[in-house]
């Protein structure tokens, strides 16, 4: 298949600019495609031989990946990986099935059922929307009054999916968690995400510092990425009170600017992703003279 490689993104953030620079440094023909302008007529395959999917909207990313796969165009990540990572319950079940240690979790199909499950799990407990990112609407519930209030808010939301309640054991982490980036089955770097609050998302102001990527951490992250089928993954790991490492979640559209800042020249995430894409993308067919 001919045509360039496409980088699909509606926003060019630090990460996408680094990726375009990495492709350029490798002499690869890569075009930026704005996902907001994209259409997929059934009988008209897009003119790319491979797509690196960096779309910030999880919905657009998933449907773009599924459409491209249907039309025989390779994509990273796959629609299966995006769908699994984009749903906290599917992630928990995939990690558990693969034997990857992860905090205890439960899905309640109604807010009322969630109250019953919280009574079993006890307090504190963490309530998360099934599909949210950047720590958005994630709640640490410390008592029954707070549980009642948050669940009433969930019940009042219009989307039926918002009435499905994902509950996760609260892990009393030491003011930080660990982000490991996995590319093509290899952990390429790790950084602590430090915060004064219990949420340690960089999008919420957490700072990043270098973390030793020891064998146990690297192996755990690679197994987690494999469990959800993600070739490119940001694996979030927490240390519990006993020092055990647990995988909190896996991100298929990994933001790596914070980790890259912390690790400096010792790690090249964009380069690793570019190398993986160039390895997986079909070689363009020669055009007859």
């Amino acid at each position: 298949m001919n045509g360039p490689i496409a980088l699909l993104a509606s926003r060019l953030r630090v990460e996408e600019k680094a990726l375009l620079a990495a492709f350029s440094a490798r002499g690869a023909d890569v075009v930026h495609v704005d996902a907001r302008r994209l259409r997929f007529p059934l009988a008209e395959p897009p003119p790319w031989r491979f797509v690196l999917n960096r779309e910030i909207s999880a919905t657009r990313a998933r449907y773009a990946a599924a459409s491209l796969e249907t039309q025989g165009i390779g994509t990273l990540n796959s629609s299966h990986a995006i769908a699994t990572c984009g749903d906290k319950w599917l992630t928990s079940t995939a990690l558990t099935a693969a034997g990857v240690p992860t905090p205890a979790a439960a899905l309640a199909l109604t807010p009322e059922a969630a109250l019953d499950q919280i009574a079993v799990m006890g307090y504190p407990v963490v309530l998360k929307p099934l599909s949210s990112s950047w720590g958005r609407r994630v709640s640490l519930i410390r008592d029954a009054d707070a549980a009642q209030a948050v669940l009433e808010h969930c019940a009042a939301l219009p989307a039926p999916q918002a009435h499905l309640i994902y509950l996760q054991e609260f892990v009393n982490k030491p003011g930080r968690d660990i982000r490991v980036v996995v590319v093509g089955g290899r952990a390429v770097g790790a950084a602590y995400r430090n915060a004064d609050t219990w949420r340690t998302n960089v999008a919420r102001g957490a700072t990043t510092t270098s973390c030793e990527l020891h064998d146990g951490l690297a192996d755990l992250a690679v197994r987690a990425a494999q469990a959800v089928g993600a070739a490119i993954a940001g694996v979030d790991v927490v240390e519990d009170a006993d020092g055990r490492l647990l995988v909190l979640e896996v991100n298929s559209g990994v933001e790596f600017a914070g980790l890259q800042r912390a690790l400096g020249d010792g790690c090249n995430v964009a380069g690793a992703i570019a190398d993986l894409v160039l390895r997986d993308a079909p070689v363009p067919a020669r055009v007859a003279a």
């Binding site: 993104a9 926003r11 060019l12 930026h32 704005d34 909207s57 999880a58 958005r136 940001g234």
Partner: protein, 55 residues
């Protein structure tokens, strides 16, 4: 290349490597701005984050 912030009219200078869909921040009003045209350089207020945005 120079242009004005569409929010506060502050003068902005951007590098020659600026790309379409790149996100910039106005140094004066801190608005997030999207590059909607490179030649000529046109900036617009960047879209607000949506519910399904993230990693």
């Amino acid at each position: 290349m120079t242009t004005a912030c569409p929010e506060c009219d502050n003068g902005l200078t951007v590098g020659s490597g600026t790309r379409l869909s790149e996100i910039l921040e106005c140094g004066d009003c801190r608005s997030e701005l999207e590059v909607v045209s490179v030649e000529p350089l046109i900036l617009a207020i960047a879209p607000e984050a949506e519910e399904d945005w993230g990693e």
